[in-house]
């Protein structure tokens, strides 16, 4: 049985908490446990932050569409934006080398998403980017 929910927000960081709340409602409705819900919310927020900061370069007034789907075996989150093509610049896992001053203050987003979910698919259409992240629930 599939359960699909969708919404959209404007490309502002202050809007992301609305998406979080909407996703939490979806998780509660589908009886996902707190640990899984929290981690998937983190993956969702990191992905949306990246869209706002990189695809839309921090500019408000643009649309981010989100769809959440629960199948018998997976949670599938699909995000669509109409900004710049994904370049993969945001990735930082090297947090243990060097002194205090050399510690990173960001760029963990993609690494976090990869750590949390089982599959990530990206595609570029004529004027939009689609990100599909899938987490097994079996």
């Amino acid at each position: 049985m599939n359960n699909i929910n969708q919404t959209e927000i404007d490309s502002e960081l202050s809007e992301v908490k609305k998406l979080s709340a909407h996703f939490r409602d979806f998780c509660n409705h589908n009886s996902l446990n707190e640990q899984l819900s929290g981690l998937l919310e983190l993956a969702l927020v990191e992905a949306v932050n990246n869209i706002i900061i990189h695809a839309y370069e921090g500019l408000p007034g643009n649309t981010i569409k989100a769809q959440y789907q629960k199948t018998d075996s997976n949670i599938i989150i699909t995000l669509t934006d109409f900004g710049k093509k994904f370049t993969g610049k945001d990735k930082n896992k090297d947090t243990e080398k060097g002194d205090l001053e050399s510690l990173p203050e960001g760029n963990w987003g993609i690494g976090l998403i990869e750590s949390i979910v089982d599959d990530i698919q990206r595609s570029r259409n004529a004027d939009s980017n689609t990100l599909i992240i899938t987490k097994s629930i079996n």
């Binding site: 983190l42 932050n49 947090t95 205090l100 963990w108 690494g111 750590s115």
Partner: protein, 114 residues
């Protein structure tokens, strides 16, 4: 951005009175913390037990705070749990920050160093 600040025996306790710390308020959080540090607060317990969700932008702000303290001060982060604690672990920042389970453990860590 709501922070509750108390002083006790040269230790500054900063409690984040927010259920969510994310990219929309992380810069303000960093700014307020840096103001404290600039006012010679060099022993800080940051109580994040009321935070139920935190993103990596906020963690980055926290790293900035740690850098602002430098090697002369001490920052202990207490009360991280659930997905907030997972964020520290997934980024391996649990190896960089001093994390305490609760306020008592955080204060004990300062006493042990004295």
């Amino acid at each position: 951005m709501n922070l509750a600040i108390t002083e006790n025996e040269n230790i500054t306790v900063v409690t984040v009175k927010e259920a969510r710390l994310d990219a929309s308020i992380a810069p303000e959080f960093k700014k307020q913390m840096e103001e404290l540090i600039n006012n010679d607060k060099d022993k800080i317990i940051l109580d994040i037990s009321e935070i139920g969700f935190m993103d990596s932008s906020s963690l980055g702000a926290l790293v900035g705070v740690l850098k602002a303290m430098g090697n002369n001060g001490k920052l202990i982060v207490c009360g991280a749990s659930g997905v907030v604690l997972e964020l520290f672990k997934l980024t391996r920042m649990d190896r960089i920050f001093t994390l305490a389970d609760d306020m008592q453990a955080a204060k004990s860590a300062f006493v042990a160093e004295a």
